[in-house]
Symmetry: none
Subunit: 155 residues, 2 copies
DNA sequence: CCTAATCCCATTGACGCCCATGATATCCCA
DNA sequence: TGGGATATCATGGGCGTCAATGGGATTAGG
């Protein structure tokens, strides 16, 4: 199954291209669409990315929602209208469209951060800052977690 | 399967023609009717569009509603009475009829917004405004989506 | 006969495809 | 174990192709 771990920082060239880390490409190798799907995060200054199968599973979950309902419209507008298919070129690079670069404030380098079933693209310094916060929050919440009992796992 | 994602803005020329994005055309390539079906949305200032197969699935869905009931009449009147088949020309363009342009307030450009199994045509600025709202509402409902079982997406 | 839609061709600009280079890690063999 | 050969990957740049667009010609239809 798809599994993205570790973080890689690659350069964005003057054409707006950036290499997707080879290990991430290997994870996506079996997919029919050779490339990734990326859309801006709701709350973070980052892009959520995964293979097409992941997007397909999102479509499947929206099928439980009534067509033309408010909920359906809001979900599909954010998930599909803002999502972009980014195909690999011969060297395993993708082109980052202007809109996505703007959302994540990407300029000359992109950090690919594994998140398990999907991964994220960050401006490298923003990622560092975010990770520091996340570590801090995790440390703060440890106590709470412990009190809640065993089930805590990875959250 | 058919999958429309991403948003593309194309110009409407002085003859009322507009190019359908190549990726959308590719999605529709297998269909017998080379073109799209479009009808005005009854809640949004936009046009719902898809291939003929999707319209067929809508017909199937209305069979769950009692024939000659008020609801059936309302649905079929809205969905099918104003729907238009718009054929591609040699370059993959369609002509937008006056009535449809009026409903969506289209003037010099059209935004094609993917919605998964179908897509919509908007006046570009109206789409931006709508997406901003939808995004906000979707962010509020993040928890709901997660409970429906798709994977954790983002946290 | 006039208006309007369809067809056909030209332009241009972006994107995909290809090759070259350099740097790094891996392997093989002495 | 060390050093050289090799494969892999990230990066840069040139070039061809195709998509979007515009305009003219031809045909249909009222």
């Amino acid at each position: 199954m798809a599994l993205f771990i570790d973080t890689f920082v690659n350069k964005i060239d003057r054409k707006g291209r950036v290499s997707v880390p080879a290990t991430f490409r290997a994870t996506l190798a079996e997919q029919t669409f050779q490339g990734i799907v990326a859309f801006p995060s709701f709350k973070l200054q980052a892009l959520h990315c995964a293979g097409m199968d992941w997007m397909q599973s999102l479509i499947d979950s929206t099928q439980n929602v009534d067509l033309f309902s408010q909920e359906h419209d809001d979900l599909t507008a954010s998930l599909f209208a803002d999502a972009k298919q980014l195909a690999f070129d011969g060297e395993g690079r993708i082109m980052l469209p202007e809109a996505l670069c703007a959302h994540a404030k990407l300029t000359e380098a992109a950090a690919f951060a594994g998140r398990g079933r999907y991964f994220e693209i960050w401006e490298p310094q923003a990622l560092e800052a975010y990770k520091a916060e996340a570590r801090q929050r995790a440390a703060d919440k440890q106590r709470t977690l412990r009190q809640q009992g065993s089930e805590g796992s990875h959250r």
